[in-house]
């Protein structure tokens, strides 16, 4: 049978977070940057929507082919910019809220007193996590509420589609901050004191947000893992006549020339190489919550752009522009399922590790 401990501890932790100066300062910075970014984004949006309307009038007059330059602007683009902020300030907020949750108890010698109460040990760590989650949720709710207020002040009324996507963006941002909160909480259980816990958390933050993404695209690493890029067929092997033959095949019955075959083989090898390389990059990047978040944030705030990246059709101006909104986002979900999963799995894994470590903590 569980005790009242979980609720009491979670309530106390939540109160501690929202009363702490650290939380106030970081939330204030977060809000200032978000507000400034949204004001800027709202002004730009209003300008873009005017230009779009002018273009639309021209397009209907000229019957011009639709192109990506004719995408309807969305206020969500301002939120996409905000995602950059969340990968820094938001992440710092998550780290700052979690790094000393357990180590502070050890330092202030209150852990022994706390555990002498009639509560289960898991209620302590679960309560601390719940209190932190509630405080992060509150911070995100404040940021989103103020964001809505600002865009409304600028006369921008998001439709249902956009409102849902803004909320999804908030949910994703929450997951990113929670990921780093869980990492910091784990470090807090591992480290002997809060300063070490903070250092360990920052090291992990740098590894996950910077080193892993750069490792995943590093050419030397690529060469070791997936080998060298296949060489195109040597130009000196073929005469000018051969090359003309490639570009101007004679009739349907013409046998493929040596040059055709060589280029075909090269094409296959290059495709296989890029497939392997992309698979490796994607797999390594999955370890980075920041990368997963950015992928997801782009899909939610700018699904057309995300589709263009995914389908690699951005450079083809004559393709149909993707539909906007949730429908496109729904189509992207299959491609981004692994990123969504990783955004859940990474915090869950670190919280699990923190839980195990705390349950085995030696109290002396």
């Amino acid at each position: 049978m569980r005790t009242e401990g979980l609720r009491v501890i979670a309530a106390k932790e939540f109160r501690d977070h929202v009363r702490s100066r650290r939380f106030h300062i970081l939330l204030a910075i977060f809000l200032i940057i978000a507000v400034v970014g949204l004001i800027d984004g709202s002004i730009q949006y209003n300008q873009q929507i005017e230009e779009y309307n002018e273009n639309l009038a021209q397009v209907s007059d000229d019957e011009m082919m639709p192109s990506y330059f004719g995408w309807k602007p969305s206020i969500l683009s301002a939120f996409f910019k905000m995602s950059m902020l969340i990968t820094t300030v938001g992440v710092v907020l998550g780290c700052a809220m979690g790094f000393d949750l357990i180590s502070r108890e050890k330092e202030s010698k209150s852990l022994k007193i706390l555990l002498s109460h009639p509560i289960y040990r898991d209620e302590v760590i679960n309560g601390k996590a719940l209190g932190g989650i509630a405080a992060i949720a509150l911070a995100m709710a404040i940021v989103l509420a103020i964001s809505f207020a600002i865009i409304l002040i600028f006369g921008i009324v998001p439709n249902l589609d956009e409102s849902i996507r803004i909320l999804l963006f908030g949910g994703l941002s929450f997951l990113l901050i929670f990921s780093y909160f869980a990492i910091a909480l784990f470090m807090s259980t591992v480290a002997k004191d809060s300063s070490n816990a903070l250092i360990y958390t920052l090291i992990i933050f740098i590894i996950l947000s910077t080193l892993i993404p750069s490792f995943a695209t590093n050419e030397s690493v690529m060469e070791i893992v997936v080998g060298e890029h296949p060489e195109p067929p040597g130009m000196d092997k073929f005469s000018a006549v051969d090359i003309i033959a490639v570009s101007e095949p004679v009739g349907d019955q013409a046998e493929p020339s040596e040059v055709d075959l060589a280029w075909e083989e090269y094409g296959e090898k290059a495709d296989a190489y890029w497939e392997k390389r992309n698979a490796f990059t994607d797999a390594v990047n999955l370890l980075s919550p920041s990368h997963n978040y950015q992928e997801m944030a782009m899909a939610v705030t700018n699904p057309q752009l995300a589709v263009a990246f995914q389908s690699n059709s951005f450079n083809d101006p004559y393709d149909e522009p993707p539909e906007s909104g949730l429908a496109v986002l729904g189509d992207l979900m299959g491609e981004l399922a692994k990123n969504i999963l990783a955004l859940f799995v990474i915090p869950a894994a670190f919280f699990g590790l923190a839980w195990i470590r705390f349950m085995r903590e030696d109290i002396r």
Binding site: E4, V8, S108, K109, I113, L114, S116, H117, P118, Y120
Partner: protein
């Protein structure tokens, strides 16, 4: 009320508590004495359910601690040696949090007020971060009493207290004991334990080397050696006895300090009379309680 049966705790192959058997009856104020590293705190951690024994068992009010930790924790109050609280909360807020963790309802407000008055912290509104060690210790005692425990376990309770704090602590323990609460006090300061406890146990190297009332402990400990002081009018000859351990002469053999395994005053008086030495005084020294306890520790060290 408190019982240990063959309790053992081993850390990395080294026994911190070794086959400890102990019983503290209900309403008793029991002192657990021992030098640093004797295993007192480890025993207390097992009694409070914070660590599990390697073997053996301990019971509070007939409930085995390792198998019923939550029920046991509801029945006891505990103050660790290095008592710590949340520095950003006030004394009242810290106690409020503690009371909630014990599942106390609205009655907690009254209890907190009562306890803060008992430990002399009423009206203190500053955060615990600004408390002196002594104030924290007082708050620790209040916390140990918040849930109306049947037994309270205090680890080195006077370690950081000033003389007034120590006097208050004694008053509080007597007040608690008068209400029938069992008290277990761990300390290495004998004088403190002897002033509040009705009985004591002595731990050394994780083993209980002696236990009983103060008289019993002094008698058992003091039985081993007797110190006899002799003063004579003429110089003493060499003294012989099978029970004699050591003889130190001073002042031209007019004074002697004799250490013997039993009281040999009669035998010495006869010897001196036979040698024609006039005795001015012949006294057996009653063992000092500190010496008695030191002898317990030393005996165990020698055995180890």
């Amino acid at each position: 009320m408190i019982r240990c049966e063959h309790l053992c705790k081993v850390y990395h192959g080294v026994p911190a508590v070794d086959d400890l058997c102990l019983e503290v009856p209900e309403g008793e104020v029991f002192g657990l004495l021992g030098p640093n590293g004797a295993g007192k705190s480890t025993t207390i951690l097992m009694l409070t359910g914070l660590i599990e024994p390697t073997s053996g068992a301990c019971y509070i009010d007939d409930l085995e601690v390792a198998t019923h930790p939550i029920e046991v924790k509801k029945k006891i109050g505990y103050m660790p040696e290095d008592v710590g609280f949340y520095p950003t909360l006030t004394a009242e807020e810290n106690l409020e949090y503690s009371a909630k963790l014990y599942g106390m309802g609205k009655e907690r407000k009254e209890r907190i007020k009562e306890l803060l008055a008992l430990v002399g912290l009423e009206g203190v509104t500053k955060e615990v971060g600004g408390f002196s060690k002594g104030m924290r210790q007082r708050l620790g005692i209040a916390k140990a009493l918040i849930n109306h425990p049947k037994a309270i376990i205090l680890d080195e309770p006077t370690a950081n207290l000033d003389p007034q704090g120590v006097a208050d602590y004694r008053r509080i323990i007597r007040h608690v004991a008068d209400q029938g609460t069992t008290v277990l006090v761990s300390s290495h300061i004998l004088s403190e334990v002897s002033k509040v406890c009705t009985s004591a146990g002595i731990l050394a190297h994780g083993k209980l080397v002696a236990h009983g009332t103060w008289d019993e402990l002094a008698r058992i400990g003091g039985d081993e050696k007797v110190v006899i002081h002799i003063e004579t009018r003429t110089p003493m000859p060499d003294l012989q006895s099978p029970a004699l351990v050591a003889a130190e002469f001073a002042e031209n053999r007019h004074r002697a300090r004799i250490v013997a395994t039993v009281d040999i005053r009669d035998e010495l008086a006869d010897t001196l009379a036979e040698a024609g030495v006039a005795i001015r005084s012949l006294e057996a020294e009653h063992p000092d309680i500190e010496d008695v306890f030191l002898s317990y520790y030393h005996t165990t060290e020698e055995a180890a």
